[in-house]
Amino acid sequence: MSQDREHHHDQAHHHHHGEELAPHGSPLTDVQLRVRALESLLVDKGLVDPAALDVLIDTYETKIGPRNGANVVARAWVDPEYKKCLLADASAAIAELGYIGRQGEDMVALENTQKVHNMVVCTLCSCYPWPVLGLPPVWYKSAPYRTRAVIDPRGVLREFGLELPDDVEVRVFDSTAELRYLVIPERPAGTEGMTEQQLAELVTRDSMIGVAKVKVPGR
């Protein structure tokens, strides 16, 4: 690891692409140079439209994220008929709310209960339901989570502050094919009077991956 850091450090100081500097004035790293070179090459060759890159980035950085999934969960909490549809055909029920697209074409909803706790991983790469949760956080894509979620799920949950009683069954879903999973966390007690909108604000990304429960602030 330290060898690698030195390697990158050295390369960054070679200035082998002229005087290119990052916005804060320091030399560009190897990976920054590679991305920049690839983009200019693909644009010059007519393989990529730079304006399309901007639209893609804006879509996933500002338009698609876990608030979408939170709206699905809140709807399922307040509308038993919707929840039934969601558990029977998640792709259709989620599309009904307008959340369709890449990495969410074929959805499965998993309901967490007092007796069954579902959590989701992709041990082989980092498959994740983009239309409802956005792009995955670094920890979800990291070796510790990908290696341990299947062999030590309760240990992983403990690191997220979730200690499950022994009588709760833990089901880990390894998304190895094109199905994408959305966990429907338990609706917490004390939320009976809340509106769908208020409920959606309580639902966290982690609770929809299945590494946390939904909490009510101040309780």
């Binding site: 690891m1 690698d4 990976v31 920054q32 590679r34 991305v35 920049r36 690839l38 983009e39 693909l42 060759k45 007519g46 393989l47 990529v48 304006a51 399309a52 890159l53 901007d54 639209v55 893609l56 980035i57 879509t59 950085e61 599309a95 369709i100 697209g101 890449r102 074409e105 074929d106 499965v108 991983v121 041990t123 082989l124 790469c125 980092s126 670094v138 920890w139 990291s142 070796a143 510790p144 990908r146 290696t147 341990r148 979620a149 062999i151 799920p153 309760r154 690191e159 997220f160 833990v170 089901r171 880990v172 879903f173 390894d174 998304s175 190895t176 094919a177 094109e178 199905l179 982690d206």
Partner: protein, 218 residues
């Protein structure tokens, strides 16, 4: 392939470290690498080819690389392997001519392109299912050099079919040349003890999405 990407069950990687209020991207180059991968691949290669390409990254580099570094590596290599750019162009960053293939993802087409549904489903094909929900199955002991989606930790293991997901593109063939072979995909439940032995939690189970070719009656 028995690559380092197939990491379920490995030890020694340390604790899971979550970052609070994590941004979608940590660096501008991550934004560009992400978008370049989607845009360059649009209509030129499929997702199984992308995954297979990243899996070919040398194992020590793979473990050291961040997520978008893996994407960048996979994209660079696919572009060269499929003949869209030459190794010389990649090394120099200078185009030696325009691409012959005129297809390009335009900004105006991005929203529609992202909403293309049912990309991997092939439900019109191969109606018969070899396994029914509740069937006992055993995964095969397969070790192909090419791309496969049966994790190493779940080979030659017994489980029970929990759901029939329907028919999808078989990723193994799709990753090698893009041939669309319809194949049924099931969610199979494996008890923790079957996968990990007596130290596994007695109430832990793993569900894995597996294709017909990975399974036999057991």
């Amino acid at each position: 392939m028995n690559g380092v990407h197939d990491m379920g069950g490995m030890h020694g990687m340390g604790p899971v470290e979550a970052e609070s209020n994590e941004p979608v991207f940590h660096h501008d180059w991550e934004r560009r690498a992400f978008a370049l991968t989607l845009a360059a691949g649009f209509g030129r290669w499929n997702i199984d080819m992308s995954r297979a390409s990243r899996e070919r990254m040398p194992p020590a580099d793979y473990l050291r690389a961040s997520y978008y570094e893996k994407w960048l590596w996979g994209t660079e290599h696919l572009l060269v392997e499929l003949g869209h750019i030459t190794p010389e162009e990649l090394a120099s960053g200078k185009a030696s001519g325009r691409a012959r293939d005129a297809q390009i993802l335009r900004a105006a087409d991005v929203p529609a392109g992202l909403k293309n549904r049912r990309a991997a489903r092939m439900d019109d094909h191969l109606a018969a299912a070899r396994f029914a929900v509740g069937d006992r199955v055993r995964t095969k002991n397969l070790n192909p050099i090419g791309h496969m989606r049966l994790p190493r930790y779940a080979r030659d293991k017994r489980g029970i079919v929990d759901r029939d997901h329907g028919v999808f593109i078989f990723p193994d063939a799709h990753s090698a040349g893009g041939k669309k072979i319809p194949q049924r995909c099931y969610s199979v439940r494996f008890e923790g003890g079957e996968l990990w032995g007596p130290d596994a939690g007695p109430r832990d189970a793993v569900y894995i999405d597996l294709f017909d070719d990975y399974l036999e009656h057991g």
